[in-house]
């Protein structure tokens, strides 16, 4: 019985280790790649990536198709079995084996990144310090009570028709309409029962931007239970200059919609931001931020430039953009926390060395046989 199982396992493993696996699964991956790329034109990069590549199942209507994770996972499994148990360890195949190992390392790095990496950005005005990272994609509705955060509701729960309530909140929020890229327009109709900024403006869903971070998330809300004269329609959107502010009893409540915030275990102070220009044009040739890292009692200066990030305590900071307002400049650094960042470097080196070795060995064999 044990033997039979062993045989069965060997049979399956052997089949999985065949080049035929690659031959039959790669077309699916290529199709997925093309479809996911073309779809970006209409749905934007972020949504397409989640639908096609960062997914196990891709639903084509009622039809479940394998998503990027499934296909790549299957190929990885096949490659792992092939590499561990069925590799030909002669010198002739050394290049191929090395390249296969490199691809495995790339896949491991890819999966590590996919499941734990966090991306965001931090904006620091010149002369100031920053410790809060804003997420690129995740937004949240924050309810503050007397200046303290009371509850945080991720944007995936802010859906049209949703009711948000909590036993220790005196009011209920009903989402009348949520929008992922809100268009702000002047409120035309009568402003009866309408409060805050909603008295002047109305939100409607607009076409999604290509890059998710450019979308302006927001919602039209109805608040009930706030008391006479304040129950009614409100609007809220990202970076709204004035939050919804309510006075109920002796408590003060604020509602904010923002990009999800995370704090750094240390702080960065921007000493100076510099922009190099191509002479006589308005086209930038370089950006750089002079930063002081402050961690506990330690502090030291670093310079972050295009293509020269700062890596510290698992975080990596990249010169990403800048914001100029009259009289002040702020740097925008992309922040990534990714424990898998080193894998691509190793994988790349292995794949390159492996393929090069294989070509050399093939060319030598050609000479040998000629």
């Amino acid at each position: 019985m044990g033997n039979l199982l062993k045989q069965k396992l060997f049979y399956i493993a052997n089949r999985l280790a065949q080049p035929a696996v690659v031959f039959y699964t790669l077309p699916a991956l290529m199709l997925l790649l093309v479809a996911g790329t073309v779809a970006q034109r209409t749905m934007g990069l972020y949504d397409a990536q989640h639908l096609f590549f960062s997914s196990f199942i891709l639903w084509l209507g009622p039809l479940p198709l394998p998503g990027g994770y499934t296909i790549i996972g299957f190929i990885s499994l096949s490659l792992l079995i092939k590499f561990l148990f069925f590799s030909d360890w002669r010198l002739q195949k050394a290049g191929i084996n090395l390249a296969h190992l490199g691809i495995l390392v790339l896949f491991v790095g890819g999966f590590l990144t996919a499941f734990q990496a966090k991306e965001g950005f931090i904006l620091i005005p010149e002369g100031q310090s920053g410790t809060m990272i804003s997420d690129y994609h995740q937004r949240e509705l924050v309810i503050a009570k007397d200046g303290m955060i009371h509850s945080i509701i991720p944007h995936r729960h802010i859906k049209t028709g949703a009711q948000l309530k909590s036993p220790d909140l005196p009011f209920t929020i009903t989402v009348e309409q949520a929008c992922r890229n809100c268009t702000i327009s002047r409120r035309e109709e009568d402003a009866q029962g309408v409060f805050g900024m909603a008295q002047f403006m109305a939100l409607s869903p607009g076409e999604l931007a290509k890059e998710d971070e450019a979308n302006l998330y927001g919602a039209t809300l109805t608040l009930t239970g706030t008391g006479e004269g304040t129950d009614g329609t409100y609007i809220i959107f990202e970076a709204m200059p004035k939050p919804i502010s309510l006075s109920i009893g002796e408590h003060q409540y604020e509602i904010i919609y923002q990009k999800q915030q995370r704090s750094l275990p240390f702080s960065l102070k921007l000493e100076k931001f510099e922009k190099g220009m191509h002479p006589g044009t308005a086209m930038a040739s370089s950006y750089q931020s002079d930063i002081i890292v402050q961690d506990g009692t330690l502090s030291w200066p670093v310079r972050i430039e295009m293509n020269k990030p700062l890596r510290y305590k698992g975080y990596t900071f990249f010169q990403s953009s800048f914001a100029e307002t009259p009289g002040s400049t702020a740097t925008v650094l992309a922040v990534v926390k990714n424990t898998g960042w080193v894998f691509p470097y190793i994988g790349t080196a292995l794949v390159a060395a492996g393929l090069l070795l294989h070509i050399l060995l093939m060319a030598r064999r050609r000479k040998g046989t000629a």
Binding site: Q49, F53, T281, M306, N307, F318, L355
Partner: protein, 622 residues
């Protein structure tokens, strides 16, 4: 005064410039030195010849047949003639009607002809210029472009006005004796007396008011001179297009126009020397004095390059002149065409002379191609590929270089013919994607890194080159396999090694790109269209090789798969650019999209036909 008023004022100012005494033909003047003088334009110091070509092409929408350098010289030194030259293209028929322009072939008009219409439409243009580009009709767009061009041209006409003679009566009380032109002072000469002139005119106005009738002849001359002087001075405000004076401050890399030197008080003893050099050029040009012109041109070149903080500038300017004169890529194109012709005939009628001729043509073409690429590297001081246009030039070079190497081993004209065809196709597409204006471009910040340009970009474009050569040879393999005679000469082996090299270069280039992305944006892979395109090529090659290894793909199918590699490369190279373009460039890209679709369809049909011919023959012989 609105910006657009400047045109009208300008024409008055320009016509007030003294006319040229000598009627001698200026065509005898040697333009070589003038053409090589440096100017800062679009972020880069380049020879005036390149500057002139870009500007003239811009105004005339590439339809002027005038020599750009002579045109520029006349514009700068002899503006009152230049305003009569037809250099502005007005292609839109309704706009021509609105501006009251006569119909003529070429649709080119002079500033003088346009002046009235421009003045009448200036209000509208001012309103349109603030509205969004996509909301404009083609006619409105054309109107804005015309106004913008006229303004830029106005800057050129005025650029050296301070050095040109003014046709004005000279008041005796100022005691100005023109030193440079007989009887006519230059702006600079009057400027030395600016203070007394303005004081006297103010005193006259205080005394007699503004009614010219009550002025004496001397007073009229003073008032007239002051008016002219101020007109030129005002029209020259913000005249910054012609930046021919090297940076005057330490650590600055911004070159200055003569007017910003004069009006912003940025002069120095060094810049005075340069102004005198240009003064001598202006005088020699206007007098059509060939000897003086040459002397002044050489002196200006020497003094300007000596004052430039960039010590390699002189050499680079000469390189760029050589590059412009040689047109190395056009030359390479012609030679490749001959090589293809020779190689093609040789494959059909095997005559050794034909082979030698074709081989020589390919070597000569590759040499021109290599020289062009080398000159670009020298001029721009960066690795060869930084834009889509440059990637095409480089891929073409890789194809023929690799083919030459294969050809020296095989000597059967197969690689030669395939490479000549592939490289011709690539060089044919290059001008289509070339940027408007100067194709020697400076790069945006994220690309402005020689390390990654030299590694990732060079690697991936070399990979494209190997893919295209592989594809061309696979076509030949299919063609031969479907033919009458069976040849065993190891072509499939050559193709196999080439495709492995293509796989290596594209795979390594792709992951290097990931590492660059990790260094600059913090993510190795982001499923971005460009990344996906590169990955598609790698996957296609990996798939073909595994299929061949596992026995699912027979040799003919394997070769057919390699043949359509050209389609995959074209899609990854250009197709992804079409995905991310905005609406406003629709007209341009729809042309490219149609061309790309036609190429893919044609290539697919060709490969399918070749493949079925092979299958058919096999079926027939078994």
């Amino acid at each position: 005064m609105t910006v657009f008023r400047i045109i009208t004022v300008l024409i008055c100012v320009v016509t007030c410039m003294g006319s040229v005494a000598a009627a001698q033909d200026r065509a005898t003047l040697q333009m070589q030195d003038f053409a090589t003088l440096p100017v800062l334009h679009e972020g880069r110091v380049k020879p005036l010849a390149s500057f002139a070509a870009v500007e003239l092409d811009k105004f005339s929408a590439r339809s002027s047949t005038a020599d750009p350098v002579s045109w520029l010289a006349e514009t700068l030194f002899n503006p009152q003639y230049a305003i009569k030259r037809p250099v502005f293209k007005v292609a839109h028929p309704t706009l021509r009607k609105r501006l009251n322009l006569p119909e003529r072939p070429g649709k080119l008009y002079s500033l003088e002809e346009l002046a009235l219409g421009l003045e009448q439409t200036q209000q509208q243009a001012l309103q349109l210029i603030v509205s969004e580009e996509k909301n404009l009709t083609p006619e409105q767009q054309a109107l804005i472009t015309l106004h913008e061009n006229a303004l830029a041209y106005g800057q050129l006409l005025q650029a050296l006005a301070a050095l040109l003679p003014m046709q004005v009566g000279l008041p005796e009380s100022l005691n100005i004796t023109p030193q440079i032109y007989t009887g006519m002072p230059t702006f600079l000469e009057i400027r030395n007396k600016e203070k007394p002139l303005m004081e006297q005119v103010k005193a006259i106005i205080d005394r007699k008011g503004e009614d010219l009738e009550r002025y004496t002849a001397e007073e009229k001359a003073l008032a007239g001179l002051a008016f002219e002087y101020q007109q030129i001075s005002q029209a020259a405000a913000r005249n910054t297009l012609l930046r021919i004076i090297p940076p005057q401050w330490k650590d600055s890399d911004v070159w200055l126009s003569p007017w910003s030197l004069l009006q912003q008080g940025q002069g120095s003893p060094e810049s005075k020397i340069l102004l005198e050099d240009w003064q001598a050029m202006a005088k020699a040009y206007r007098a059509a004095n060939a000897g003086e012109w040459e002397k002044a041109g050489k002196a200006t070149f020497k003094d300007t390059t000596a004052q430039s903080p960039d010590k390699g500038l002189g050499a680079r300017l000469k390189m760029e002149r050589l590059y412009n004169l040689l047109s190395p890529f056009k030359l390479a194109f012609a030679l490749y065409a001959l090589a293809l012709l020779g190689g093609g005939i040789f494959l059909w009628r095997r005559h050794p002379v034909l082979y030698q001729a074709a081989f020589t043509m390919l070597i000569a073409g590759t040499a021109a191609h290599l020289a062009g690429t080398g000159l670009r590297v020298g001029i721009l001081e960066r690795p060869p590929v930084g834009s889509l246009y440059e990637s095409l030039l480089f891929v073409g070079l890789i194809i023929t270089l690799t083919a030459l190497w294969i050809e020296t081993r095989r000597r059967d004209a197969l690689a030669l013919t395939g490479a000549a065809a592939a490289s011709l196709a690539v060089l044919f597409v290059a001008p289509v994607v070339a940027p408007d204006g100067d194709d020697l471009e400076v790069l945006v910040a994220v690309l402005n890194t020689n390390f990654w340009l030299a590694t990732h970009v060079t690697c991936i474009t070399a990979g494209y080159g190997f893919c295209l050569l592989t594809s061309a040879l696979a076509h030949i393999w299919l063609l031969r396999a479907g033919g009458a005679a069976q040849v065993q000469d190891g072509l499939s082996r050559t193709i196999y090694i080439l495709s492995l090299a293509a796989l290596f270069l594209t795979a390594f280039g792709t992951v290097l790109g990931g590492i660059w992305a990790d260094q600059s944006w913090g993510r190795f892979w982001g499923w971005d269209p460009k990344e996906n395109g590169a990955l598609l090529i790698v996957l296609w090659l990996v798939w073909l090789h595994h299929g061949r290894l596992g026995g699912q793909l027979g040799m003919p199918l394997f070769q057919a798969g390699l043949a359509v590699l050209s389609i995959i490369v074209a899609l990854a190279w250009f197709g992804v650019n079409l995905l991310s373009v905005g609406l406003h460039s629709y007209g341009f890209t729809s042309g490219i999209a149609a061309g790309l679709a036609a190429f893919c369809a044609g290539e697919l049909a060709l490969t399918a036909a070749l493949y079925y011919r092979v299958r058919h023959k096999k079926a027939g012989s078994s």
